[in-house]
């Protein structure tokens, strides 16, 4: 239990871009975000003694050597895809409260547009695809090769069982796009979206259309976790980690043979996080929900307990997840309309909201916020944060 004993004290983010690309290496762009987080916190690199990098985009040793972290003593990488940043937030809280490290940096980022695209990685490197040899031998020969296709299988089944509609998927896309209009840093700033636009967009992997899919992006972000005691000497008001948890679906390495097809890692993790936090989903003033595709928002709202199974479609309709609605979701525009930076920007945005620094998209008097991660074949992570 680390409730309220650890906090986020620094955040950093690079600009987001597509064409022609960041012009930096994937390590370089992450280092830029890491330096911004150090500056934000008022920390020197030498004080960072824990680093938890995202899978496949750089090792802790390289971060430490590049930044000048001479006393690296806690390093690990969670292999949970997009659930890694929030899972690493939890692990950082465990590390600083146990004494394994004093200041833990969680960097993440990539040249997701100009570099090796997601689909190419999935096609060529068995070690980097969820499921590994299972995907290679039982999915890829049949043309199931990439994330929108895996998750489309879940989305289709949800539509069948619960009557979830394309318009409800569209409501998620529209909410994210609406929020992006209030965020000058978002890739889709200045590009509003209508339901007609959404429904007219071509299918990629049905039921997913182009506008159900997040925007491939070059960009990076980072955050720093330490104890509440150490935070007192730092520049920013801390954002407290009330509770955090991570979980795996079962089986985690194979997507088709799940007794409950909709049970994901978050189904297990969310009750643990809320129990530790001592609050319920209804207490959240906002949520940053990992939105690789629209349906994953609906699914996670259900599995995290913001509504019951099957009610996620109705939950997101009629402005339910827009600013001013019952639960503002992804106030920065999310992966769908701000940028796909592997979910780490969801943490950054939660911190901004709880510091009251979100500008035109600020949730009034935001006190408690939830952030989730989703990755691989349904790995989940969640943190409950407060100001």
């Amino acid at each position: 239990m680390f409730k309220d004993k650890a906090c986020i004290v620094g955040i950093g983010e690079t600009p987001f871009c597509r064409k022609p690309g960041s012009g930096l290496s994937e390590m370089g762009i992450q280092l830029k975000a890491a330096v911004a987080a150090l500056e934000d916190a008022g920390l020197k690199a030498a004080q960072i003694d824990g680093i938890l990098p995202f899978p496949n985009v750089g090792k802790a040793e390289a971060f430490a050597a590049s930044l000048g972290c001479e006393n690296l003593r806690f390093a690990a990488t969670l292999h949970m895809g997009g659930a890694a940043p929030v899972g690493s937030l939890r692990m950082a809280a465990m590390a600083v409260t146990s004494g394994a490290a004093d200041y833990v940096m969680v960097p993440g980022g990539w040249n997701g547009y100009s570099g090796a695209r997601v689909r190419e990685t999935a096609a060529n490197d068995v070690d980097s695809i969820p499921g590994g040899e299972i995907a290679r031998d039982f999915y890829m020969p049949f043309g199931l090769t990439a994330p929108p296709q895996w998750y489309a299988l879940m989305a289709r089944r949800h539509m069948h069982e619960y009557g979830t509609t394309a318009e409800q998927f569209g409501a998620v896309a529209l909410a994210m796009r609406k929020h992006a209009q209030l965020n000058p840093a978002a890739l889709m700033h200045g590009k509003p979206l209508t339901m007609a636009d959404y429904l007219a967009s071509p299918y990629i992997a049905s039921p997913y259309r182009l506008l159900d899919c997040c925007v491939e992006t070059d960009g990076a972000a980072a955050f720093i976790v330490t104890t509440v005691e150490r935070a007192r000497d730092l520049r920013q008001k801390p954002v407290y980690i009330m509770g955090a948890a991570a979980g795996q679906p079962y089986p985690a390495d194979e997507i088709t043979n799940r007794a409950d097809f909709h049970r994901t890692g978050l189904t297990n993790a969310a009750p643990e996080a809320f129990r530790m936090a001592g609050v319920s989903p209804a207490d959240a003033d906002f949520a940053q929900i990992y939105d690789c595709f629209t349906f994953e928002v609906i699914q996670q709202l259900e599995e995290a307990g913001f509504c019951r199974r099957g009610e996620g479609g109705a939950f997101v309709e009629n402005g339910g997840i827009e600013l001013g609605g019952r639960l503002p979701v992804n106030t920065h525009g999310g992966l769908l309309s701000q940028a796909h930076v592997l979910g780490i920007s969801h943490v950054v945005e939660a911190v901004r909201q709880l510091r009251g620094e979100a500008g035109a998209r600020q949730v009034a008097d935001a006190e408690i916020g939830v952030v989730t991660g989703w990755g691989d074949f349904g790995d989940g992570s969640i943190a409950v944060l407060r100001r």
Partner: protein, 141 residues
Amino acid sequence: MSQNAISYDKPQPSLTGLHGEFYAWCRDRELRFQRCKGCGRHRHVPRDICAHCSSMEWEWARSSGRGTVFTWTEVVRALHPAFAAVTPYAPVVVEMEEGVRLLSRVVDCTPDELQIGMPVEVDFEKVSDAITLPVFRRAAR
């Protein structure tokens, strides 16, 4: 090598270990799943041990070949270059009578004819001398 083996450019399963044994049966045009000798449950994908009873004793049990469509996606834009020429196509999850589910394709209908619950039965598609994939056709109920 046959013409087929040279021209087939899509991802292929490895033929090693238990995965290889599964595909060896497919090459003989038989769909078989592991059946636990401890508790009698079928399992897929192949694994060394039964997750229900921890028995490591099992046999390759011949499937009835019958199942129903559980879910699917119609891939309109290929996300792997080898499938670009065959879009649209639909990876389908089939729920077998034995209780296991299998990712495959239904080869005798278009994606927009697919329905959840549609009865299907196994067939086999030889893609090279070494590899035959289990695929499905529509079946009478």
